[in-house]
């Protein structure tokens, strides 16, 4: 067998250029694909299609009708809870719900907020309202915890303006 003899050099000269090319390409690839994913969360809503299944629950929850109207642009115009107007925005709505339900989590099942909106109302305000009704964040030992108020939310038929 013939063994090929290599030239013996004192120092092996590495070819850096191709490696750097590839490394930079990798770097550029990962920078390009890097995207900050926003954390998303859900509001859980149970809405059975047939109302007949509701008769199974022993106690009907107290209904708190929330009416939201929109102006021509779809922004929130007025808000009424049980017929009385709310002027202080979602903070007042939250306080009102808090006053009704109380912070004790035991009673949360006994209330149900029925949201009725104008057809054109922007969805954002509905989420704001649900946020105000659902509860709030409280700092407990430096960590945010959700204090829940009303878990049950239902939607009433939207009101269409101008026929």
């Amino acid at each position: 067998m013939k063994v090929r003899k290599r030239d013996k050099t004192d120092k092996i000269e590495l070819q850096m250029t191709p490696m750097i090319d590839i490394v930079f390409q990798l770097l550029v690839f990962f920078i390009m694909t890097f995207n900050i994913v926003e954390v998303e969360g859900d509001f859980n809503i149970l809405m059975p299609g047939a109302p007949s299944t509701e008769t199974l629950t022993d106690v009907a929850p107290v209904k708190l009708p929330l009416r939201m109207t929109a102006d021509a642009q779809g922004n929130l115009a007025t808000m009424t809870l049980e017929g009385s107007p709310i002027t202080g925005g979602f903070d007042e709505l939250h306080q009102r719900i808090l006053g009704k339900v109380g912070e004790g989590s035991s009673s949360e099942g006994d209330y149900e907020v029925e949201i009725q909106c104008d057809f054109e109302l922007k969805y954002r305000f509905v989420i704001d309202a649900i946020t105000a009704v659902r509860g709030r964040l409280k700092k407990i030992d430096g960590e945010d915890e959700v204090i829940s108020l009303v878990e049950k939310i239902r939607f009433a038929q939207p009101v269409k303006k101008g026929g």
Binding site: L27, E40, G41, N44, I45, F119, E120, L121
Partner: protein, 151 residues
């Protein structure tokens, strides 16, 4: 002033620190990049809410419906009107497919994730929900972006 002459045939910089840093950068971006399939769509900008928390356990075979600002529904990459019969058929099909996946008992638990644009008219969102209800879906998840306070 004395000038030191540094004339070499081949200017050889020391590559090692640069390569160190570049590899670190690559490692950094590799760790941060996540290839998890996000069903986010550029056309949908979610409303934000302080209470929106990511679900604790993974949802079982959810059906994701998205709604753009003008009230069009996106299902599986296709843009449809809320009232189009196309969407109707697609939902029936989704329902059947979900039913096959979860088995007979769990069909009522199949969640519908609604990702509506923050400016979408509420009436359209409700129409979409009503449509899903008529197909037998019961569990809805209104998706919102987590709001970071003071930051």
């Amino acid at each position: 002033m004395r000038l030191q002459k540094q004339k070499k045939e081949d200017a050889e910089g020391d590559m090692t620190p640069m390569i160190d840093i570049v590899f670190q950068l690559i490692a950094f971006f590799m760790v941060l990049v996540n290839f998890t399939k996000v069903d986010a769509d550029d056309r949908v900008k979610l409303p934000s809410s302080a209470l929106a928390k990511p679900p604790e356990q993974k949802l079982k075979f959810p059906v994701t419906l998205q709604m753009t600002a003008d009230g069009m529904v996106i299902l599986g990459g296709d843009l449809m009107d809320v009232e189009s019969p196309d969407l109707d058929n697609r939902l029936i099909r989704e329902r059947r497919a979900a039913g096959e996946k979860v088995g007979p008992g769990g069909i009522d638990e199949v969640p519908v994730i609604i990702r509506a644009h923050e400016l979408a008219p509420t009436g359209k969102v409700q129409k979409l929900i009503t449509l899903c209800q008529s197909k037998g879906f019961q569990r809805f998840r209104l998706r919102a972006k987590e709001e970071t306070k003071g930051g």
